[in-house]
Symmetry: C2
Subunit: 178 residues, 2 copies
DNA sequence: CCCCCCATAGACCATATGGTCTAGACCATA
DNA sequence: TATGGTCTAGACCATATGGTCTATGGGGGG
């Protein structure tokens, strides 16, 4: 069990990230998080004095880092921007297929809904910025615009995929961008 | 007061549609809906025996019809598809600016979150179909693709606008589509 | 060896929530 | 005026929820 080596705090954050992503802020109870993380209530409020909202912030930060890692993994080995975009779309399609909680963008479900809406924009912006940097590196003429277009379309595809219960829209992302 | 003329059932549906759109399914309590609609509890469960879920279905249907009306109002007077799209984007930007509950797509907040996810796809599809019909009428060569692209991008822009607390992404929609 | 402190453990609490149930108002028809 | 059904009205209930509080364990420094 790898769980044994993970700190209580991290187990809470991971469980929260997954559950919030899957069922949303209001749709997830602290009791569920505690049960998933196998942690008693006292520990939660020791590590996260502000309770649920605090937990959501930590979960969002963790999820955001995961997104940055995925972007890097998609574009780093790519020869041009379109190639990286294709890899990115495929990655999200695979996650969508394999893990229930990846049926929605982490931040969309996580923050838009709860009392933390203001914290959402900066995270999303870091993803766009990271993508723009890759676009610039790969020789795109208007990297900011390319990154904005990508993320706008990606979020739309993700929502559509979820509504249709089918990753096809995510896979269609590269062709829809043209 | 126009409220006096509206049936209890419709007042409930309207209040529910607005609140669900604004705060989501799980973030809205039946008590809030009742208070907004000025209706006692007994009436709710008389008109909507299945309670909250039933109310959400009715609200979704009403919201969906509003969306179809907006699509028609945007494209009917347009001379070409791009012109209609520009009108559509501007309409949503205005709604976003003026009414708190229009800060999110009705169905996205309304259904994706709750126990009615399966009901979401058909509604969204009617919007895409209506848009595709307009695209065909206005001489687009690939109307289905144009409509799909439009709605994907629109949903993405909407989410971005909400995250940034600024309708600018919605207004940028027409240029992002190129 | 003892003490202290960080962290765990979970009982406990006030409130919010979705839903049920009975009583009565209203209205059309007989 | 009596009667039946429809709709309004809100008291009431069981449960879920977020959060607090006290007690305990256990490992490192004196």
């Amino acid at each position: 069990m790898s769980d044994a080596q993970i700190s209580t705090r991290d187990r809470l954050t991971q469980a929260a990230a997954r559950l919030f992503q899957e069922t949303g802020y209001n749709g997830t109870s602290v009791a569920e998080v505690l049960a998933t993380a196998q942690v008693p209530k006292g520990s939660l409020y020791h590590h996260f004095p502000d309770g649920k909202a605090d937990l959501a912030r930590a979960a969002a930060a963790m999820a955001s880092q995961v997104m940055l890692d995925i972007v890097a993994a998609a574009y780093d080995p790519a020869d041009d921007f379109a190639h990286g975009t294709a890899r990115l779309a495929e990655k999200f399609a695979r996650l969508f297929e394999r893990h229930p909680h990846w049926r929605a963008c982490p931040v969309q479900t996580l923050l838009l809904e709860g009392p933390l809406a203001a914290d959402t924009a900066p995270l999303l912006q870091t993803w766009i910025d990271a993508t723009a940097a890759q676009a610039a590196r790969l020789g795109q003429t208007a990297p900011d615009r390319a990154a904005t277009r990508l993320w706008t379309m990606l979020i739309g595809c993700w929502t559509l995929a979820r509504a249709q219960d089918d990753p096809a829209p995510l896979r269609a992302l590269p062709t829809l961008l043209n």
